[in-house]
Structures are given as structure tokens and as C-alpha cells.
Symmetry: C2
Subunit: 135 residues, 2 copies
């Protein structure tokens, strides 16, 4: 750790251009498998993906298990610590939609609902994620 | 841009271990000068600092001006776009305080107030920043 600043703690873990995109894939796109993360639009490399998945697992933000339906496959899911990254991710999205016309044209309808009642919107999304990812 | 995902827009700008620490210095520590950013605990190098300041200025997140009191010095301030990063930074801090005992021991008193009423806490902090940074 470079310092014990609360912002630094977070940035040491996910302060790069890739880590939160993997969390996004788990949260919003229903992706659960290595090859699904690999196929995302941003073109993450297999080296970076493997590195970030290992980091996220070590930090207990995601967990990996054998897929109950295909024992040779690994399935990833979010922990509570991972689900709790939701307000950070939504806030980055809302800020982007405010300041990028391209993002806004595509996504502002979605964010407009959350802006109206942030607490309620986050609670609803967290409940959905908990039902899908936590045992 | 790797994609037009709203999260990606933000991460392309500040998705690294350093950029948001400079914003933090401007927001919470009253730092306004190059040498003040350079002296922060995390030990940013002068190369990285100069690079990130240029990026933040290009993205209109900060602006630089000649210091009215010392014409040969440059003083940095946040724009509205920069001030609007506040909820992201506070959410990273709150998450860190939830999951790191070291952060929590030092900072949870501060975050406890904001957790009680997030909207109100953010509005108050934004008002302070606007008064200090915006003409």
C-alpha cells in the first residue's frame, strides 16, 4: 500500500482500465465464464484477464467454483464485496453520461431512472445481484 | 475509445492508480500547486504527475491559470466536470472503509455522517468545492 488513504485502498485494487470492466460484465451482462469476459467489446487480452481475475479472487471480490453442470468448467460470481462496488460503477456511468454526448445518447434513459431515486435504484439492483450471485 | 460503454468512458480517463489521487488532493487537501501534488504520501513521480495533469486539463476536469499573487506560478483548480467526480470518490472511500479495517479505523467516523444522508452530504461538499474552485 502506498498510503492508508481510503481512496488509495480502492485504487490499489481496481485502479486500472480493465478490472471494473470485468465486474461490469458480471453485474450487467450476466457473464460468468472466462471466454465470455474475453469476448467483451474492449478487447481485453488473455494475459490481462487472467491477471485481473486472480487479483479479484485474492481480494475476495469474486469467487470461482466448478460449474455444477459442466464439472470441467469454472464459473465466476460476485461476492458481497464485489456487489458493493455497484454504486461506484453506477456513479462512473452517470458521470460519463453527463459529460459524453455519445454515452448520453445511448444510456441516459437508463441513468435517468436511477438519478430520480439513487438509493432506491441501487437497492433494487443489489437485491437482483444478491439473488443471482450469493448462495 | 475501446467501446462506447458508459463505464469505459470514465475508465479511459481516470482508470489508473494516480489520476483520482490528484483530484482527491484538489478536493480534500486544498492542494493547488504542482509541488503540493508531488509531495503527497503515495509518492507520485514527476513524469506521471505531469502526464496526468495534462490529461486532466485536456479533458476539462481541471484548469490551470497563472497564480494572481505570484505570476510565475501556475495554480490548478477543478472545473464543474471535476467537482462532479465527488460521488465516485466518496463511494470508493466508503467501500474501502467497509472492507479495510485499517481504513475504517481512521476514516469511518467521517464516512458515517455521509452514509446517513448521502445526497445531502454530497450536495454540501459540492457547494464548498464550487465556492472555492469555480469563478
Amino acid at each position: 500500500m502506498r498510503s492508508d488513504c481510503p481512496l488509495n485502498y480502492g485504487l490499489e485494487i481496481f485502479g486500472d482500465k480493465w478490472t471494473l470492466l470485468i465486474i461490469r460484465d458480471l453485474m450487467f451482462f450476466g457473464k460468468r465464464y472466462y471466454n465470455e469476459f474475453l469476448s467483451s467489446n474492449e478487447g481485453i487480452s488473455t494475459t490481462v484477464l487472467a491477471d485481473r481475475l486472480a487479483l479479484l479472487e485474492k481480494q475476495k471480490i469474486i469467487k470461482k467454483q466448478k460449474d455444477p453442470e459442466h464439472k470441467q468448467k469454472i464459473v465466476y460470481s460476485l461476492t458481497q464485496k464485489g456487489i458493493d462496488l455497484l454504486p461506484i460503477i453506477i456513479n462512473i456511468g452517470m458521470w460519463s453520461s453527463t459529460y459524453s454526448k455519445k454515452v448520453s445518447d445511448k444510456m441516459e434513459c437508463y441513468f435517468a431512472d436511477i438519478r430520480k431515486n439513487f438509493e432506491k435504484g441501487i437497492a433494487a439492483l443489489k437485491a437482483e445481484l444478491s439473488a443471482t450471485h450469493l448462495e
